[in-house]
Amino acid sequence: MGIEARLGKVAANLLLQLRVVLALQERELLVRTEKGLLGAVGVLIEPLFFVLTLLALRILIRLKTNDLINPIIWLVVGVCLFFMFSEVGLKSLSGVKKSQDIFFYRRIRPLDTLLASALLESRIYASTITLVMLGVWCWTWNPRFDSPGEAALIFVLLLLLALGVGVSALVIGHRIPLVKLAVRFFIRKLLLWTSGVFYALYTLPGSVRPFLTWNPVLHAVELFRHAINEAYPIPDISMAYLVSCALLSCGFGLLIYTSNEALLLAED
């Protein structure tokens, strides 16, 4: 087989894989739409409600803000990025079991359902961030986004990180169920307070920062805020760390998934 033919075959397989994931994502959106109270719009509004609640709480307790980034955008970025990570990671733990029926189609693998779920969550939260930013810019008539490309890259890296963590926890948790519980607790309880959702890292004393900067989600959140305004200080934050964590997590997750795929396909 010539090189061109091989490349053509690879491209065709990649396109097919993409169409499988997109189709599964559409399926999941349809299921959510039919289950949700507000239908299709509810899929988008649910994260917005949560953001509005946190915003009201922030206004009530009068958290200190800076004039570098609009406070609504500042909060929405933190909330949406963290909850995207959380939803992708947590849904990966239970997504395979819920989609057992469609594994009848031999072409569909558990990883495809996880990718579809991650894609849907990322689109929901990306839409939320985009709509809120556009709304704030229209209200204040002062748009500012210094590095949109970098922000998109950070978003994708965080998605990869979440996927890697979710897949790893899923596979390991299949053998050791306690791992699933630990990951759920870790993501819901610990990561929420160490991910810079409600505070900016540079406002904390230097002696406290080493206890938080191990968390790559914090790096993603602060880097995203820095991409909006380059004057936003990000001490001890590194893009290299986020890239490393995302690639390692994704690589490890895919590696152990490949060797344990049959385990996931077997019914519990």
């Binding site: 097919l16 559409e26 239908g39 072409r107 490309g149 994708v156 200080p233 077997a266």
Partner: protein, 402 residues
């Protein structure tokens, strides 16, 4: 691997799973054949083709056509020789910034506005056509630069885009970045803006001090006038009443009356003693002393009434008036002294430099073009495409389902 029997599909998933079927029962070849049966030119406006074309165009522009940009960076901090007194310390005070850092940050924020102002642009580029010529587009990148015929407002926007003034929250320093289409352009603009920043820091402080000096000099003039007026009033009072100092005279009169009363007490004691010695109260020795006592009493009463009576010397009123006038003179003298001291200090302050622009990093001639903008622009294009596909497609899907 053993597959378990598939449970029957639920009703709400049946519709969803119908999306999966066409995927597998219509193979890739059939899809391609189907596409070939369509009109050929419609394939060109399909989403993948448009997206690929967009990415290719972005790559060609960013890495091929796009003009080189050079960047010069300077960093400085605005310091006072005597830092202001520190506020009370708190747990977060190291992170919130010392007063010096906050002061430099404040000046940095003013500079952000000042360096992008029309006045600075006018000083650096007084000739608009010369400015247009310096930043004119060049082949092959006809989109980057100052387009011919741009009005002054558009030139100002372009000028503001060529610079970036970023105060650093943590250290208080200010980073000044300037862009140019060749290294000299970027360096010259950076140095010119640093000079303008230096001028701003000095002018503001010296301007404030000059205003304060003018005010202090006016206060000196007013204090002098007031002192002269008080002195004139006191002199007129003294001339009118023929007395140098009514207060001193009142004190002297009081002493004199006290002496008379003391003498009266002695005479009374002597009279009482003589009355006990002599049986006859009309004896000449007793009468002599009694007459002296009566005379002295009459004299003391007459003197006292002369001092305080309005028809007499009225020393009480005069002394109060004199005291007030003297107090007025003393106050005017002190006020003049204070005004003269303030005026002298303002004069010194207006000539002295209150704040210094300390260079932490001098701008250097860029050795090579800035590579970051190409990757940033390309990533921004990809990010935009991702947002349009991811967000736009999703929102369209949600609207369709609604």
């Amino acid at each position: 691997m053993s597959l378990q029997p598939v449970p029957p599909l639920k009703a709400d998933q049946a519709g969803a799973n119908s999306l999966i079927k066409p995927l597998f029962f219509t193979g890739l070849r059939e899809q391609v054949a189907g596409q070939r049966r369509r009109v050929p030119w419609r394939r060109l406006v399909s989403a993948p083709v448009l997206a690929s074309a967009f990415v290719c165009l972005a790559a060609v522009y960013c890495f091929g056509i796009g003009r080189d940009r050079y960047r010069a960076v300077a960093e400085f901090v605005i310091r006072q020789p005597l830092p202001p007194s520190t506020m009370g310390s708190s747990l977060l005070s190291p992170t919130l910034g010392s007063p010096t850092v906050l002061g430099s940050l404040e000046d940095g924020r003013y500079l952000q506005v000042f360096l992008g102002s029309p006045e600075v642009m006018q000083r650096l580029y007084p000739n608009p056509s010369r400015f247009q010529q310096l930043y004119a587009p060049s082949w092959p990148d006809r989109w980057t630069g100052l387009q011919p015929g741009t009005k002054r407002d558009g030139q100002l926007v372009f000028f503001q885009r060529q610079q970036s003034v970023t105060p650093q929250e943590l250290s208080g320093s200010v980073i000044l970045k300037t862009n140019g289409f060749d290294p000299q352009q970027a360096l010259q603009l950076n140095r010119a803006l640093v000079a303008q920043a230096q001028r701003f820091v000095n002018e503001v402080n010296q301007g404030i001090s000059a205003d304060q000096r003018n005010f202090a000099e006016q206060e000196v003039v007013m204090a002098r006038v007031r002192l002269n007026s008080a002195n004139n009033k006191l002199n007129a009072f003294q001339d009118l009443h023929g007395q140098l100092n009514p207060v001193v005279e009142k004190d002297a009169t009081t002493s004199y009356l006290a002496a008379l009363e003391s003498r009266l007490v002695d005479l009374k004691v002597q009279e009482a003693s003589l009355r006990r010695q002599f049986r006859d109260s009309q004896a000449p020795e007793v009468s002599y002393v009694a007459d002296q006592v009566q005379e002295l009493k009459r004299e003391i009463g007459a003197e006292r009434s002369k001092v305080v009576s309005p028809q007499g010397r009225n020393l009480n009123r005069l002394s109060i008036q004199a005291q007030n006038l003297q107090n007025e003179v003393a106050f005017a003298t002190e006020a003049l002294k204070a005004a003269m001291l303030a005026a002298d200090n303002s004069r010194l302050e207006s000539q002295r430099q209150l704040k210094f622009l300390v260079m932490l990093r001098e701008p250097q001639l860029p050795a090579e073009p800035e590579p970051n903008w190409r990757w940033k622009a390309f990533l921004a294009s990809l990010g935009g495409l991702l947002v349009v596909w991811g967000v736009g497609g999703f929102l369209v899907g949600v609207v369709k389902r609604t």
